[in-house]
Amino acid sequence: MKTPSGISKSALPHISVQNIFKNNFRQYGMLIALVVIMLFFQIATKGILLVPMNMANLILQNAYVLILSIGMTLCIVSSGNIDLSVGSVCAFIGAVMGTLVVNMKMPLILAAIICLFIGLLIGVWQGFWIAYIRIPAFIVTLSGMLLFRGLTITMLQGLTLSPFPNQFTLISSGFIPDLFAGLGLRFNLTCILIGGIISIIYIYIELRSRGAKQKYHFESLPLPLFIFKIVLIAVVINLFFFWLSLYMGIPIILAIIGILVLIYSVFTTQTVSGRYIYAMGGNEKAAKLSGVNTNKTLFLIYINMAFLATLAGIAFTSRLNAASPQAGLNFELDAIAACYIGGASAYGGVGTVIGAIIGALVMGVLNNGMSILGVGSDMQMSIKGLVLLTAVAFDVLSKSKSKL
């Protein structure tokens, strides 16, 4: 390889605050919108929104959308396609879980493993038709939506199965236990320590990446700005965990989602397979001619989607503490909306996992905030619809302006 000194100044755009904002406008834009929406409801609800208990609730309520939107991002990025079946798959998995655990008294772990296996089978079924027979994903998953909803109702004979054992409900309502509970503190010390550890890891990664960049003589963020950035983010992380510690600590489901987001973010941005997904979504023909096995990639993406739908199904069933034939209605639409609000392109090739998470949180905060204010669910739905349109219109308009 060439010596790093061969890198000219023009290799990368000059780093300035202005450029950083310009290049990441969409993502930061949505993040800013999220903060603004939160501030608005914080004031409008007279501080209830960000009460530690409500914050924990917000996460628990929206866990399923967060999980689903991760997988949906991959579907949308790879081909501009969506998966309409995820809501029904959630319900179906709930039904299987209910039948196995409530009716047949099977141990939870075994039931969960069987559910994950069934989830993978569902993914193989849908992925096969989409990737190898090339039936449009819209049609295949529309069929799946009907098929698995029907199977759910058949399996439950239209009834709701409950209750599940207590341990099962912990998945969606439990918290990581405080190791220092014996000390009698007013806050959860474990939670604070975890926050501290995470922020230290974050700072370490940032420093290492800066070091690597300097080794290559790349221009990096000016030192004061860099310090400001990592301190700000470290403070936000610690504040967040401190806030959680005032209630019951870290919800188990938050830990699961955190790990998923981390894995999928790294996967999509820093691995070969992840990059192939973006290339394929941008131009399938070019990707194919560059050696990407597009059929296989598409196949795996739909298996992954079904796998995450299974996780979401288990989490939701646990939250409901029941297997209901009506579970998971419109989940697919929430997840799709989250991706688009978070900046994914309906044509494929553009979108991020973090963006989808932010999109899901925007909707979650809207829901929660409006509920606290006593806005009816009918109005909530209308408002969410308008938010989706506004976010995407904003995206389209800003793009058409910046053309060339």
């Binding site: 023009s10 290799a11 755009p13 070969v272 973006y278 941008g282 131009n283 090739g349």
Partner: protein, 510 residues
């Protein structure tokens, strides 16, 4: 010349970076068949697009006088109203509608706001009679062959009371019999007083039916030949088409040939959709190390299909034949295998198949060889930047930064990015399909230099090009392809534009 139906005066049309037409003049007499010939890219189709209003009035300069009136067509409807109909190379028929529906598309036979289907089918039948097509008017377009579809297109034009019919390469996709029928029909229409402009590569046809032949070259009118008592000799037309100075358009280069490093024997490929249609027919070719081998031929001669089928079976069905690399037989089932075996294929259409336009230069360059950037599980982003920057400098891609989206680059720079992508895979055999299409002259020169540099590094280069001067200026040896077969192999000394054209013409006649 009086009695002109059409006169185009000093038409100039520029695209960003390219002057496609430069003060072109065209005079067409009423009731004649006027042929327009020239190499690919000479400006024939552009001229016709100007005439039919596809490039609206105001985007070009010059005058169009049709039937004595100056015209300012803003869209294709305007020219149709005036009585001009254009039939493009790619037919504009809707496959799932019936013949009658297609004929009257946009020109529906209606009575008081409702379409009269009886009227539609009666009139369609009359038109089919006229063009000599014996098909039910209810038949779906997709169920009839290309030759018949061509006739439907003509019927569609006739339905609009056409005065001037323009046919762009009407026989390119037709077999002998269909072509013959079509030409006869044109002669009949001429008797009915319809004027016709015929664009064609097949000079035998042109010299047979045309009354006048206008030759375009590099966006300029060269001459108009008139058919006297004797037919116009093909050699005369070829001379007009290609008679161009070749000075300094190509960098000087002497290739150092090594041993034979890439060889293909008996390569045969069938069309992926059409049963039993041979696309590549028992082709043999070999390339030495450091050699630039050209494949010349007209559009549709099977060059791209050959290249893609070699590249890990990216095209075609029932592929047979052997491929030898460095004397050893290799079988490539997938594109990935082809890349791993040191093959690279630069597509002819960089926008739709070469680049991911929504992504930046860096990601496009690394795409075909991402695994090489992997450090354990993850991609080393810094290394990627270094690689991209290295190629940006080496190939001279002009851009503000490597984070620039490739969709915003000029054609020449886009092509350099595509080349970078493939050079980064460290190939031994590079197949370049129309590497300079749609690129301005300066960038072409730079691309040629890159190609020479690659040959100097001992790589085998196969270059497909429709531009004869380019093939002659760059290649050490030239294969001439026609109708899926190799119909000639010419060394640099033997090759000339005339000799290549002759190889093609002779094989056509056979």
């Amino acid at each position: 010349m009086d009695n002109l139906i059409l006169e185009m005066k000093r038409i100039t049309k520029t695209f960003p970076g390219v002057k496609a037409l430069n003060e072109v003049n065209l005079r067409v007499k009423k009731g004649e068949i006027h042929a327009l010939v020239g190499e690919n890219g000479a400006g024939k189709s552009t001229l016709m697009n100007v005439l039919s209003g596809i490039y609206p009035y105001g985007t070009y300069s010059g005058e169009i006088i049709f039937e004595g009136n100056e015209c300012a067509f803003k869209e294709i409807k305007d020219s149709e109203r005036a009585g001009i109909a254009i039939i493009h190379q790619e037919l504009a028929l809707i496959p799932y509608l019936s013949i009658a529906e297609n004929i009257f598309l946009g020109n529906e036979q209606s009575k008081k706001h409702f379409i009269s289907w009886t009227q539609t089918h009666i009139k369609a039948a009359q038109l089919l009679e006229k063009v000599g097509l014996h098909e039910n008017t209810y038949t779906c377009i997709k169920d009839i062959g290309v030759g018949k579809q061509q006739l439907v297109e003509i019927a569609k034009a006739l339905a609009k009371d056409v005065k001037l019919l323009i046919l762009d390469e009407p026989t390119a996709a037709l077999n002998e019999d269909d072509s013959d029928n079509l030409l006869k029909l044109l002669l009949e229409l001429k008797r009915d007083g319809i004027t016709c402009i015929l664009i064609s590569h097949k000079l035998s046809e042109v010299s047979r039916v045309a009354d006048h032949i206008t030759i375009l070259r590099d966006g300029m009118t060269i001459e108009t030949l008139e058919k006297g008592n004797a037919a116009i000799c093909e050699d005369r037309i070829i001379k007009g088409m290609v008679g161009r100075e070749l000075v300094d358009r190509f960098p000087k280069h002497t290739s150092q040939l090594g041993e034979i490093a890439f060889e293909v024997k008996n390569w045969t490929v069938y069309h992926p959709d059409i049963e039993n249609k041979l696309v590549v027919d028992h082709i043999n070719l070999k390339v030495h190390k450091g050699e630039i081998v050209g494949i010349s031929g007209l559009m549709g001669s099977g060059r791209t299909e050959l290249a893609m089928s070699l590249f890990g079976k990216a095209y075609g069905r029932s592929i047979s034949g052997t491929m030898l690399k460095d004397g050893k037989e290799i079988t490539l089932q997938t594109i990935r295998q082809a890349i791993d075996h040191g093959l690279a294929y630069v597509t002819e259409d960089r926008k739709s198949a070469g680049l991911v336009l929504t992504q930046d230069i860096k990601s496009n360059i690394s795409l075909a060889n991402l695994p090489a950037l992997r450090d354990r599980l993850l991609i080393d982003a810094n290394k990627e930047v270094c690689i991209a920057e290295e190629y940006r400098q080496k190939l001279g891609v002009k851009c503000p930064s490597i984070l620039q989206k490739t969709g915003n680059l000029s054609g020449g720079n886009q092509q350099k990015v595509v080349l970078s992508k493939w050079i980064f895979t460290a190939p031994d055999v590079l197949i370049l399909d129309e590497p300079t299409r749609g690129i301005d002259v300066g960038a072409k020169y730079e691309i040629y230099e890159i190609i020479h540099k690659l040959a100097d590094d001992g790589k085998c280069i196969i270059m497909i090009s429709s531009e004869l001067p380019e093939i002659l200026g760059v290649c050490d040896r030239i294969y001439v392809m026609n109708q899926g077969k190799i119909v000639g192999e010419l060394s640099q000394n033997e090759a000339s534009q005339e000799s290549i054209m002759k190889c093609i013409m002779q094989s056509d006649r056979r």
